[in-house]
Subunit: 341 residues, 2 copies
């Protein structure tokens, strides 16, 4: 019998791995947003000095990981595992970022939920006794994503009100068995939920039911509620998806409005930055967590945070074939307090 | 300290999860090959009754998983975790196959190494105490892969001698903490290795150095050698990559020729089936293991098998940008004998 499992979707860790360090990298628009001062490294050049946007994204991942390791004087190649992913076809931003790093590598794909997927598996690798150190790294790049998923940038197509703006950002978190820092106490793994949405410019509506399912499962499995957290941050539902999630909670008789926020709404100013519903991308929740939320856990702003990255699992091919958009959400509970397990 | 870790890349399991059941699905060319009689389900229709090759691939994954669960009377939605991946952009074959399955889902991308990546993480989820049951599922489809990675099928471009033929196949393995069946005793996780190969029609040469690295790490970490195994089956190097791997071993003074074989060479007859160097794809090692090798472990043909799926981590975009091809290989040690740990 799996002794760490609670309910259908949740595990609670015995050792509660420590997030010992984080690194964040962001582009110009992100730097100009409300969290612009939070990131470790930023660049006003969308190419980050590289020859293509794809290479720029790999560079961002490398920088995020090196920064996170550098803060705790840990050689990058001493990591026991790296769990990494991104949005590019064949997850090439991750593969090319990590090919120079001499550490065992697991490639992941969970669309914009990948950061919490990586944190979940990295936590398990440590709590299970397979690793002393593990990294979770994800990224996205507006220009690379736009031309891959939608249209050439030069086309300048008009965006719908529900559309989201892919974050040009990367985040890396270093997990350790021991040390100082907030601890990952539990993870709730998502079940794919397809709400029948077929508009690829309305990912918030496709992901909100998955977020509702996973958060509800988390509460049910652990016998807790929204009040157990100071902050519940969904991955990147954007304003439209966030409103749907609040409505789903209200219908189920749960008031989550006091603590619920969304990384896609935090990263940009919707009033000033013309991003429509907000930010998205594997780099969104990664950079918001590593650049902003982590600091709040370290400085006492929040004691208990539930990070719930959300992903829309369609591809341009499936959308062209008329398919609806499957959504998924993985939740990670993080506590600023030292566990006494 | 991680007590289950041996050396830089290997973990040895305390509980050694059991592979309680497997399911395999294959297409017409695979059915006509030397292992054609081994698969649970085959179809002479490349669409498997679906409306597109992408949907056909999802269907194959579903069928493989349902077959594997059906053999042990386990409801698919009772699985604690599903680890799945494929080659299609945004791993959509897996996402759409698993959207109807009510089980927690982790999406993976390791190109053709994904099956061993999935077995590795599924094993950790059980040995770590996070799950009682977990599935590893991967697939590939020649027609979907060909038009995505290379050219429209109608174009009929000539293939180079080193080219490989993407398998139309899927495999699913159900892991359990207890029960009858071969056991996963150890896994060695790959470090990305880029040998500088830039020809996307020569993936064997790009992957062979990664296979050599991971197998060498496995031997070193556990203090064993090729003689510890009755069969070492690499993922899908094909004949060209296989020859390179043998040469790399010979240069390092290791004779692996007696036990080394390659799933990409087993699946098709190179003499009769015009597949050039052999098979490839996430479904190759998955279907060869689930359709053929598993049976050999159950019937006593082999006692100790090392399955080492290999992946080429490029994308059409990175190849178009002149990048070389990063390779990776994950190895999984499987023993027919009941562990007495």
């Amino acid at each position: 019998m799996s002794v760490k499992r609670f309910g259908r979707q949740t595990v609670r860790f015995g050792k509660s791995p420590v997030i010992a360090s984080v690194g964040s990298v962001a582009g110009r628009k992100e730097q100009e947003g409300p969290l612009g001062h939070c990131f470790d490294r930023t660049s006003r050049d969308s190419y980050f000095g590289q020859k293509s946007w794809e290479k720029a994204e790999s560079f961002m991942q490398s920088q995020a990981l090196e920064t996170a390791c550098g803060k705790i004087d840990m050689p990058v190649d001493s990591l026991d595992y790296i769990f990494a992913g991104d949005l590019l076809n064949q997850c090439c931003a991750s593969a090319f970022a990590m090919r120079g790093v001499g550490a065992p590598f697991f490639g992941l794909y969970g669309a914009c939920s990948t950061f919490c997927e990586a944190l979940s598996l990295a936590s398990m690798s440590i709590d299970g006794g397979f690793a002393d150190t593990a990294a979770a790294v994800t990224s996205s790049h507006f220009c690379g994503a736009e031309r891959q998923f939608r249209l050439p940038l030069e086309y300048g197509g008009q965006r719908t009100p529900t559309a989201q703006w892919t974050a040009t950002a990367a985040g890396a978190a270093i997990l350790r068995e021991e040390g100082n820092g907030p601890r990952i106490t539990a993870v709730t793994t998502g079940i794919i939920r397809d709400a029948g949405i077929t508009d690829a410019n309305d990912m918030g509506a496709a992901m909100a039911p998955a977020a509702f399912d996973t958060l509800t499962a988390h509460f049910r499995d652990l016998g807790v509620g929204p009040e157990s957290y100071d902050l519940i941050a969904t991955g990147d539902l954007g304003k439209h998806g966030y409103d749907i999630l609040l409505e789903l909670f209200a219908k189920s008789g749960v008031d989550a409005s006091r603590v619920l926020d969304d990384c896609g709404m935090m990263l940009f100013s919707r009033e000033k930055q013309d991003v429509h519903a907000g930010a998205s991308g594997c780099g969104c929740s990664a950079s918001v967590f590593c650049g902003y939320i982590y600091d709040g856990l370290m400085t006492g702003k929040w004691k208990n945070v539930l990070l719930a990255s959300t992903g829309a699992l369609m591809s341009p091919t499936t959308s062209a074939q008329g398919e609806s958009i499957p959504g998924i959400c993985h939740a990670v509970a993080i506590s600023a307090q030292k566990e006494t397990s």
